[in-house]
Symmetry: C3
């Protein structure tokens, strides 16, 4: 169905790509299941939140580019992986909470991977460069937004008091479209984009980088949150 | 548009199927309108919540399988039925609240019906068995999740302190795909799947069956809900 | 892709139509960015809420009618306009808050415009009259609902204590389908529908028109909101 096959969608070999996808899905699912535990959900709530967090971003992208049925529903591995994450959190969540920092590192890796692979898939379906980068961002962060909506939280992505999360994904997605524009997207340069997004997110966590809020906001608007 | 017509989509005769669909839509719409009353919404809020609760699950399924425009927008009866439910709740809601148990029984019937018909429709559009069962579940419970999101509640589906709701729908959907796998899906066996899901939900309400939360959760994680 | 081109989709000349669309997108984006400031989001949260508020209604419509990729992702102007609104609110939000009434007038104009253009586009894609009017309404109000969901508010659209918002859009969308039914939709009559919806919303704001809640609701149901 893709209209434009000049892009190297086999950025990595198919096998490595799929293994990396499943790893990213796994860590995103862990973050969904952990929120479900904190929210006091039952085991089915854990599974729902794990599936939605892991697959939601790609699902949104696939609906928008018209890739139906979405990959989340055609690849059995995509469906089963979040269930494994659910089982891990269900039985071992105190241990999982304890290695929260490790999980955040893997989550950063998933962020880097998905912003790049999402951008490439969108471009491959014929979207323009701006739209492709936007959908790369949506692929990387969409699942987390849906997770927070189902947990009845303000999406942590939007809050000023959280370390930068969207910006590293934006940088990764933007690098990909710049590479495509200059016809320089290769497996090697794609990996560089993944590593840049991954590294930026690690730095943002390490040094608590945050984005500014609106200028002069305190002067006139009451705090409502 | 369906790719696979060997499945008996006319599980019931067209007329009976449509009448049952409308009955299911009606009771789901009642539950949406009742939440809107409790939330203090105006009459248009009632209508929006009734429509979304009744049609949201099927809408999600149709977008994912690529059945656009979704049935919710092509069948006038689907659109009008929730408006009738809105009028009933608007004028008679104290009486409707009083027969809440009766409504829950009908809601259980809608759950059983939609998990089966949703699974069949997804399979009919070419999805694999796992994906079909997942979408059958989504058809049955998706509208209730959207209702709770619009009402700014945590989806009751996910909460551990509610009687099992997703599990009966999972059982019904799983029965259908097992029947399809063994080439044994007929109107009679399809009805059995509906009745099993319906009966399980009734038993869950009668005996307050609940699903477990994560093991040892109290030991390390503060209650946040 | 449209199945039915007898409708004058070029209700206005292409250029004027596009300019009006961008104006509507701009004011919707301002309302999204202002909510983000009140919610204490950072600058990226402002941009996300501006984009979602401005483009969400049309995105929902396009997914439902099968117009993928949606216009929001194919028209660069649609994407860039909310970013300009974000910059305006980021640097000047006290001034923007001060002209809130002016913004509400523009928002009413966007409401009128989008309910009419959304209805026409849906009909143009082959939907029936009821569905087309529903999607015209969804185009006009969908972005605001998504904005409120992301801000973790009950959608203001549904609350009884807000001036009528959906009703003017319903009237505009209904006028369009009645005009189509009688084969009387022309640029002139289309503009009349826009002006009616716009005017009704202005009157609703001026005289604080509200819709009734369910009858006898106080007698039996506790206030929960």
């Amino acid at each position: 169905m893709g209209k434009n096959h000049s892009v190297p969608t086999d950025l990595f070999s198919q096998f490595v790509q799929h293994a990396l996808d499943l790893a990213g899905i796994f860590v995103f699912a862990i973050s969904g299941a952990l929120l479900a535990v904190r929210k006091n959900f039952d085991v089915f709530g854990l599974a729902v939140l794990a599936e939605v967090t892991a697959l939601g971003g790609g699902l949104i992208r696939d609906l928008i580019i018209g890739a139906v049925p979405p990959a989340a529903f055609t690849d059995q591995g995509y469906f089963v992986t979040p269930l494994i994450a659910t089982a891990v959190v269900f039985f071992l969540h105190p241990e999982v909470e304890r290695i929260n920092t490790t999980i955040n590192v893997f989550d950063a890796a998933g962020l880097g991977l998905f912003c790049v692979s999402g951008t490439i898939k969108a471009y491959d379906y014929g979207l323009n460069l701006t739209a492709s980068a936007t959908l790369g961002l949506a692929t990387a962060v969409g699942g987390g937004v849906l997770r927070d909506l189902l947990g009845n939280d303000v999406p942590s992505l939007l809050r000023w008091d959280r370390d930068l999360y969207a910006v590293p994904a934006m940088v990764g997605a933007t690098m990909v479209v710049v590479l495509i524009h200059f016809d320089a997207l290769t497996p090697a340069t794609g990996v560089v984009a993944v590593i840049c997004a991954f590294g930026l997110r690690l730095l943002a966590m390490r040094f608590h980088w945050r984005a500014p809020r609106a200028w002069h906001r305190r002067s006139t608007v009451a705090e409502e949150v």
